[in-house]
């Protein structure tokens, strides 16, 4: 793992506090979507298909901060939409850092150089750009349905690193991905100097245009095993090694849908970041009135059957690390040896 020690400590102590308090359900990462508007229309994305008046809407900074306070998670991820199109993104990040939240700004990086030049952000241990890259140039440009985006993202990454920012990448892998090309991509990212990488299989959004290339469970295990079974020492991942083992089929986890709750212009999304089955007015209401037993693999819900996405299973992996000696041992072993 490539997380800074202070961040690991903040998350670990938070989880231990929740366990000591006897809380059965607690959030780990708030997925804060201040807007749905985006400057791309990726084939695998089901987040941005809305009428114009909804795409024009965005949360105020005050609404965002109220959600952050209400939720209490130590980490705030800002996806969207494209968060660099959010007019108050600079002040939102500044306020979150002041509250000592670890912030991941998930961006396609098309606007990154421009926003950096405008001085919107200041480097901080609490703040990281998480740049969306679904592979090398050919694969990424195909995934985002526009040529040239990979090069723009790489330019943005270089500039952010040059200015002293933390930079990570997040990659969604679909059926047909080449393990060799993905491994080359990892090498390329390490050469660029990013702090760490996050990977996940895609989710079959019912509203996404491309329904044919989402990974089913066994194929996902096969793909991630081929990619990760002989990892290079230089590869650094910004996520739990147990989650990577889960992707390889070496851990049997159940989803933790409340682990990464989502807040956006509609409210608190039920039940998770991926499914939209309604909205709660408050986080408390979300936790207490969502029928959690209807979600996850064991529920038999067809929408959850093949899902292995990190927003549901990374919290399970973290909980497993701090919930059992075996989980703790496996995490330490993977971290020390660099093997999954």
């Amino acid at each position: 793992m490539s997380l800074p020690v202070s961040q690991m400590w903040a998350v670990a102590s938070y989880v231990v506090r929740q366990k000591l308090a006897g809380r059965k359900r607690y959030p780990l990462v708030l997925m804060l979507e201040p807007l749905f508007r985006c400057n791309l229309a990726c084939a695998g994305c089901g987040k941005i298909q809305y009428p114009a008046q909804i795409l024009r809407k965005h949360l105020t900074v005050e609404q965002c901060l109220a959600a952050v306070e209400e939720c209490g998670a130590p980490v705030v991820s800002i996806p969207g939409g494209e968060p660099l199109m959010y007019p108050d993104i600079g002040s939102l990040v500044k306020e979150l850092i002041a509250r000592r939240k670890y912030v991941y700004l998930c961006t396609n990086a098309i606007l990154l150089k421009e926003k950096l030049a405008a001085g919107l952000f200041t480097p901080s241990k609490y703040f990281s750009f998480s740049v969306h890259l679904d592979g090398l140039r050919e694969e990424h440009d195909e995934a985002v349905c526009r040529d040239g985006v990979y090069d723009q993202a790489v330019e943005g990454i270089k500039e952010a690193l040059r200015r002293g920012f933390r930079v990570t990448t997040n990659s969604t892998l679909f059926d047909g991905a080449s393990p060799l090309r993905v491994r080359e991509f990892f090498d390329e990212m390490m050469d660029l100097g990013v702090e760490g990488m996050m990977i996940s299989p895609g989710y079959s959004y019912s509203k996404a245009p491309d329904q044919e290339h989402f990974l089913r469970t066994q194929r996902a295990h096969d793909l991630f095993s081929q990619i990760l079974s002989n990892p290079k020492r230089r590869w650094r991942f910004n996520q739990s090694p147990l989650f990577l083992q889960f992707l390889m089929g070496k851990q049997e986890f159940e989803c933790t849908p409340w682990g990464n709750p989502t807040y956006n212009v509609f409210g608190w999304q039920r039940p998770c970041y991926l499914l939209q089955e309604g909205y709660a007015a408050t986080f408390k209401d979300l936790l207490e009135t969502t029928r959690w037993e209807n979600y996850g693999r064991r529920s038999g819900n067809a929408k959850c059957r093949d899902c292995m996405v990190h927003c549901g299973y990374e919290p399970t992996a973290v909980n497993h690390t701090f919930g059992s000696w075996r989980g703790f041992r496996d995490t330490v072993a993977a971290t020390v040896t660099g093997r999954f």
Binding site: A41, A43, G46, Q49, Y50, P51, Q53, I54, R56, K57, E142, C145, S206, K207, A208, P209, D210, Q211, F266, G267, G278, Y279
Partner: protein, 122 residues
């Protein structure tokens, strides 16, 4: 989402074979504006983003065309819902992009193969 799977333009008739709750669920899942027709004859056009059929008073919530709201309407106030706005999730942009990409490759190959294009600076 493929072409042809959309409810765009649907004007449901609430009756024995189709309940209001079913129509509300379909409207909630629809990624376009709808027109909510109320029992008093008035209408609200907008995006229906939430519904709760299990609430003590079942309701829907709508952002209107100007983005105003949300307007909360109880099921009892609703006569029907028409699917009047464009379905933004319909279509097949990925296939369209692949077709365009393939066409560009074919054109590129044809250009290189013909040898008709003069070299730069010539």
């Amino acid at each position: 989402m493929t072409d042809g799977a959309t409810l765009e333009g649907w004007v449901p008739e609430i009756g024995p074979g189709l309940s209001l709750a079913d129509v509300v669920d379909k409207a909630f899942d629809y990624r376009g504006n709808v027109t909510v027709v109320l029992t008093d004859g008035s209408e609200i056009e907008g995006y229906l983003f939430n519904r709760d059929a299990d609430a003590p008073v079942p309701f829907v919530r709508v952002f209107d065309l100007s983005g105003g709201g949300p307007h909360t309407l109880s099921y009892r106030e609703i006569r029907t819902i028409r699917f009047t706005g464009r379905d933004t999730a319909a279509g097949n942009s990925y296939a369209a992009w692949l077709r365009a990409k393939e066409a560009a490759k074919v054109a590129d190959r044809a250009e290189k193969g013909s040898g008709s294009a003069p070299p730069r600076g010539a």
